[in-house]
């Protein structure tokens, strides 16, 4: 049995050492809000926080995450979707199909923690998540709204 601290709870599971954190979350722990998009850390759909650091969980073996490191997934970001990023997302009707949005929201939340007033260049650098529906401009606007910058370009 291995153990991970996920969304504030210590969770036990069994998996081979090379199993990515993504698949432990999805298949062993039942947290399917974190998505599989590419498996090679290109698309960001699998983004979670590990001790606050946005991490692409599809290439991070679960066995390399210590039981004491705090993992936060989209399900544990904030109660009742109350994180400022989630609220801004709702206000601007950001998602289309929604599949990439867990990763987008986790990446945006980490960005705002690091840089409460991100510039466009900061957003470009941090938000490399892929969205095929093309929500990018609303994502940018919502990040600025969550940062308290009001409506954005």
């Amino acid at each position: 049995m291995a153990s991970l601290n996920v969304n504030g709870t210590q969770r036990e599971f069994q998996a081979e050492a090379d199993t990515p954190l993504l698949w432990v979350l999805r298949e062993q722990l039942g947290l399917t809000g974190t998505k599989y998009g590419c498996g090679i850390a290109q698309c960001g759909a699998c983004t979670v926080h590990i001790d606050g650091v946005p991490t692409r969980s599809c290439v991070r073996p679960a066995s390399t995450v210590a039981a004491t490191e705090k993992i936060v997934t989209i399900e544990g970001l904030a109660p009742n979707a109350s994180h400022p990023v989630q609220k801004a997302w709702a206000a601007l009707d950001v998602p289309q199909c929604g599949f990439c949005q867990s990763g987008m929201i986790m990446a945006a939340a980490a960005l705002l923690k690091d840089k409460p007033k991100p510039s466009d260049a900061d957003i470009d650098a941090a938000m490399t998540n892929i969205c095929r529906c093309g929500t990018y401009n609303r994502v940018r606007a919502a990040i600025k709204q969550a940062a308290g910058g009001g409506a954005a370009a």
């Binding site: 998505k35 979707a81 709702a90 199909c97 929604g98 599949f99 867990s102 929500t135 401009n137």
Partner: protein
């Protein structure tokens, strides 16, 4: 009223049903009659018991919650909300109490296709079902009013409705929809219903929020890939990487001892799957499985052989005519000056964010499929065929789609999932493709080349125009039974003499548009925007080439040739005016900014775009700003139309900048987003969407704008660099100034 009359026509066999219902996009509209949807079937396979159903479209619960049934699939494009707005508008219900649900395809068949067509593609959700879904809402409203009037023993004409409340005007008595829904459900539906004038709309036409956002913010939305069923196993699958190849052998013993592996199975004659307790274990075991393929007759095909095959079609004597007026060839031959250019468009993968997947529980008596599909009925047909069961013994439960873009209208992956589940009867099995499998087994944007030829007189006027397209037919690949005397009508999107699927709007004295069909072995598919994408690039680039060669302003030339097309002109003029055409664009970061235009009519709508780009000395392109205008006739949800327009540039510019699948040794060379890059936030331009709904018709909004994205940028690149890019994607081209 019978809401299904408009879409039920006799005379199609089941085979025809399977074929036509698999159509996901494009222009074919075929009536349906499903012989096996009999009353006997309805009795043996009743619809599940539901809350009080006023009619097929509207269920109202005692607490006044309104459940609106939506037949089309939500894949991000907003159709769930838009169609619900149309029903709710006519129903006069309280929008804050609206929820939605999908009827299942087998229920649709059992009820004589009361919900009409499930197919979601071709930007047809609103434009084709607006009439009958509104009638469904209006009929339900009339029945609710009648039920209240009966209760009060007053004439229905004395009652009015607003926001789910019925008022008897003379007495002031009121009741709610929830209170009378049960009685209303027992009434005979009205035979005639009147629809509101769109100018009186209160819910439709308004920028209401989407109904499906909340679960997409906290991880609770269940996509196909997220489904969990009791006792479920997972499968990973690999099909022969060479299209048309077969599975020769595999060595199951080599992976039998890996953890979690339950079974290794052949999938049809070309694939193999590993079934395990978790998908990760199935996938890694499959990666370790020794497999031998019989690569078949296509193993030597390459992008070069395909290009040569298409090039021959550019001058082939035989071609299918799509649009002809006058004698264009003679006019060009006689012209004092000729202009000719050859263009090409590559294969592209849809690359939906959610890879293909389906979950199946098969028993010899029944086959159930849970999947994200753009066409539940086609998924049902595929499942029934693979299961060897009648459709009445199967059903499909639609799950949220992590993108569709046309890919999820073809159901090769449902067939696979059923063939896998059949080998473990009774056990639900979730099959998920890896991204690599998804990249290798797409239904690709068709590959084409095009030769544009124009004759010009001494004053620079076009005397004749010949557009020869050579290349792949989607219909020939997916639905060959829908070819009409060898003609694929979808090829001519945007090029037709008339019609909603795209009228060629430029007026020239002599015109010939023809298609030499050349079908390589790579399977084509309906790809968001479909053939309008490359057709618009060819036409709009060449119009710019003519403008340059004849020293005319590209806007002025378009205006001249579109003098008889007021809707095309309106969107074109709108973008030109907003962008500031004719005045220099302000520099950005010390770089000069240049503009390019494009316009087209397709999917029932009129669209135009003006792109602003800069190209630095190193040849690096930046797209700064897009101004886009859309006339969809009626606009059901303006803010969602804006979202579709913005998204269309992300998708269309991804295609133009990066989208290219190449073929080597008979297979697709690209494997993942690492070698099939797509547009990211840093490259996404600002998009200003102008909505110009002129009313009187219903156009689509999910696709037409994609077609103007690439040509507007290509024309701006020419303005910036003097380089005319005729082959995509742009990543393969040098943009250093000529």
């Amino acid at each position: 009223m019978n809401t299904s009359t408009a879409i039920t026509k006799p005379g199609l066999s089941r085979r025809r049903f399977i074929g036509t219902s698999a159509l996901t996009a494009g222009s074919l509209v075929v009536g349906f009659h499903v012989p096996f949807a009999s009353r006997a079937l309805a009795q043996s396979n009743p619809a599940p018991a539901l809350a009080p159903e006023v009619n097929a479209w509207v269920v109202i619960k005692p607490d006044d919650t309104v459940v609106i049934r939506v037949a089309r699939s939500e894949m991000g494009q907003g159709t769930l909300t838009g169609l619900a707005q149309l029903v709710a508008e006519e129903l006069d219900c309280d929008w804050s109490k609206v929820t939605t649900e999908y009827p299942t395809p087998a229920t649709n068949l059992a009820r004589n296709r009361v919900w009409g067509n499930f197919s979601t593609g071709g930007s047809r959700g609103v434009r084709e079902s607006n009439d009958y879904v509104r009638k469904g809402g209006a009929a339900a409203r009339m029945m609710l009013v009648q039920a209240a009037a009966n209760d009060w023993k007053v004439p229905a004409a004395e009652c009015s409705t607003a926001a789910g409340t019925i008022t008897h005007q003379p007495s002031g008595r009121t009741t709610s929809y929830g209170k009378v829904a049960g009685a209303a459900a027992k009434l005979t539906p009205p035979t005639e219903v009147a629809l509101k004038d769109p100018k009186d709309w209160k819910i439709a036409g308004k920028p209401v929020k989407r109904l499906d956002t909340a679960p997409k913010l906290d991880g609770s939305q269940v996509f196909g890939m997220d489904l969990k069923l009791t006792g479920m196993l997972n499968a990973a699958v690999k099909d022969c990487p060479v299209f048309g190849g077969k599975l020769k052998s595999f060595n199951a013993a080599a992976i039998a001892n890996r953890p979690g592996v339950k079974k290794v199975v052949a999938v049809g004659d070309s694939g193999v799957a590993v079934i395990a307790d978790t998908w990760w274990r199935a996938k890694t075991a499959l990666d370790a499985l020794p497999i031998e393929w019989d690569e078949g007759p296509n193993a030597k095909a390459s992008s070069a052989t395909i290009a040569a095959f298409l090039k021959e079609g550019l001058d082939a004597p035989q071609a299918v005519v799509g649009n002809e007026s006058g004698d264009a060839k003679a006019a060009i031959a006689a012209a004092p000056r000729k202009l000719e250019a050859v263009y090409s468009y590559p294969y592209q993968n849809h690359a939906t964010m959610e890879v293909m997947n389906a979950t199946v529980r098969y028993t010899p008596e029944r086959c159930e499929v849970w999947c994200p599909t753009q066409n539940g009925e086609a998924a049902l047909a595929a499942a029934a065929e693979a299961a060897g069961l009648p459709p009445a013994k199967c059903d499909v439960y639609k799950l949220n789609l992590g993108g569709g873009f046309g890919r999820r209208g073809a159901h090769d992956w449902v067939t696979q999932a059923v063939l896998i589940a059949k080998q473990m009867p009774g056990t639900p099995i979730k099959m998920i493709w890896s991204r690599e499998e998804d990249m290798a087994h797409g239904k690709y944007h068709p590959i084409t080349q095009c030769k544009m030829s124009a004759g010009l007189d001494a004053q620079g006027n076009v005397t004749g125009l010949h557009m020869r397209i050579s290349g792949q037919s989607i219909v020939a690949g997916l639905l060959p039974q829908n070819l009409v005397n060898g003609r694929d009508p979808v090829v001519f999107q945007g090029l037709n003499p008339s019609g909603t699927e795209g009228r060629f709007s430029y007026k020239v004295p002599a015109l010939l548009i023809d298609h030499a069909m050349r079908n390589p072995h790579v399977p084509p598919g309906f790809w968001r925007g479909v053939n309008l994408n490359h057709n618009a690039i060819y036409v709009e680039s060449f119009i710019d080439e003519i403008a340059f060669e004849t020293k005319q302003d590209p806007l002025a030339l378009r205006r001249k040739l579109l003098a008889d097309s007021p809707r095309n002109l309106a969107v074109l003029n709108a973008v030109a005016e907003r962008a500031g055409w004719g005045r220099p664009a302000p520099d950005v970061g010390g770089q000069k900014v240049y503009r390019g235009l494009a316009q087209i009519m397709g999917f029932g709508s009129y669209v135009a775009a003006c792109a602003e780009v800069s190209v630095n000395d190193a040849g690096e392109l930046r797209i700064h700003r897009i101004v886009a205008a859309t006339d969809p006739g009626h606009a059901v949800n303006p803010q969602q139309i804006a979202a579709q327009v913005e998204g269309s540039f992300a998708y269309g510019l991804s295609a133009a900048l990066y989208g290219g699948c190449t073929v080597k040794d008979g297979r697709i060379e690209q494997s993942n987003f690492s070698d099939y890059p797509v547009l990211q936030m840093a490259q996404m331009p600002k998009v200003e969407a102008i909505l110009l709904p002129s009313g009187g018709f219903w156009g689509g909004v999910g696709e037409p704008t994609i077609a103007v994205a690439a040509p507007a940028v290509l024309n701006a690149i020419f303005a910036a660099t003097g380089k005319r890019i005729r082959d995509l994607p742009l990543k393969n081209q040098s943009l250093r100034r000529a």
